[in-house]
Symmetry: C2
Subunit: 329 residues, 2 copies
Amino acid sequence: MRIAIDAMGGDHAPHAHVESALAAAIEWPDTHIILVGNPGVLQPLIGNAPPSNVSIEAAMEIIGNDDEPVKAVRRKTDSSMVVAGRMVKEGRADAMISAGNTGALMALGLLVVGRLKGIERPGLAPMFPSLDNVGVLALDMGANMDAKPEHLLQYALMGSLYRNKVHGIKEPRVGLLNVGTEASKGSELTKAAYELLEKAPINFVGNVEARDVLDRSCDVLVCDGFSGNILLKAMEGAASTIFKLLREELTSSFKSKLAAGVLKPNFRRVRDRMDYNEHNGAPLLGVNGLVVKGHGSSDAKAMKTAIRQTRTAIGNGLIAALADEFSGK
Amino acid sequence: MRIAIDAMGGDHAPHAHVESALAAAIEWPDTHIILVGNPGVLQPLIGNAPPSNVSIEAAMEIIGNDDEPVKAVRRKTDSSMVVAGRMVKEGRADAMISAGNTGALMALGLLVVGRLKGIERPGLAPMFPSLDNVGVLALDMGANMDAKPEHLLQYALMGSLYRNKVHGIKEPRVGLLNVGTEASKGSELTKAAYELLEKAPINFVGNVEARDVLDRSCDVLVCDGFSGNILLKAMEGAASTIFKLLREELTSSFKSKLAAGVLKPNFRRVRDRMDYNEHNGAPLLGVNGLVVKGHGSSDAKAMKTAIRQTRTAIGNGLIAALADEFSGK
């Protein structure tokens, strides 16, 4: 299988991407990794004798985080992100991964790769960490700001298929993000979506409140892109604030510093378990090819996690299964 | 001033409410506290010689957390919550506080107390903790699930007035909860609201992302009730998960238990600083009287905080100022 990596997108590009590509190529000899970007930059990084299953695809432009997404995708046709997307579109890669501009990647999904037949709006589907470490796939996290009930239904179907194909969960429990557990709760959108989900051929477990997401009361969490983005960033914000406060408090005296020193490995484990990078690699579900978003701050380890997830999705025929599910609808 | 307390609503009713009422009556002799509820229950709790500025108003029914809000307010006309609301409506109390059923309290605001002239939808406005301990007033947190841009504008105006009158902030910075900081970001709702807020006579500082709320990048955070509820509960959920993981990790070995024991006061301070009860007392802004929601889990200390906030709001003529602001609109 062939995976194209946008080698120039993300906070730690291109070094983290090259490092993870080399490691992945050695671990998975059946996988060809294509680093997309400026060969003048990438060639020295991969060295003179890279594994034979690593190659470079030239792309001379870069889409930055400040670029306006749609404009950037339309104009920067020789950017690493757009070239990687075109490789997927043209069948020269089975998947692409980018840790770059999220908005641009979503635009690329629509404009370059194209929607799957039958899908109205693609959804971005990252994993949330959960107390039991299994994680919750949540979508949409920002691809579709003004969702309709039918979009949420498609997210539920796509998310179920993903968890089944990629994570091997037999009957994934699907929850609807809402302000209360009763069926009558919520906005016009969630009330209408609730009715559709109840009738759908999925394992719908009802409404899930934001405070229960990390307890993994469901395997797939369905929501509109606006609420999803608020959910994700609220959790990131709360976690970062608590760790900031802890650091402040635990370094406030000599005694507390000593005790905190002893607990360092414990704190690190807590941080790791709350770390979104542990489940790195959010598929943009609903586009006609495997387009995967890595966290902007992905390091080499996180990028390798994304590559692993992507391999599993390719290996289990995710896109063919999705196409099959929606082609008749 | 006279403050009616729904003595039967909330997890720690009626004990916490009676305890806080007695303490408040002693601390603030100018304030008359009216405990609304079953005298047979309340009389023994306040004892034979309560302060002269504590009294009981009889109400024989109770609205529980499982009661359907609108139905409960309509039918349980002799409930502690409805009687307290009626006292505000009839001018027999300057404010009411309830830690009971949130949905019922919002219904009570509309059905019993009534809207302020010129206000389309009241908004529930709790305080979020912030790193600098000043807090962020956020509204709406669930009164209005399908908000229009005009509602968000009214929230901005009411929130600004509240922070000015109650917290003494001169030109409160108003932020709009959104998925990105650029003006072009967000849903149809937030894009339209952004334009209205830009033109409004407030100190609008633009979009605020969910992860930056606790850094107090604004004094008033404006959002629709659905997103607000997601924001609030996502933060509560993340905080509770992290503290759960910390407890697990720090009691995992004898050594870690010892070190964690030394740090107990530090952990407690972090918890307190993230504690929503520290800023207890969320006004339902936009109703024609002061209706204040206490957290369901309010203990006596939290209830006293709510009473303190309410006193300040009454003392500074909040409702008259709000009526003045909106009467011509």
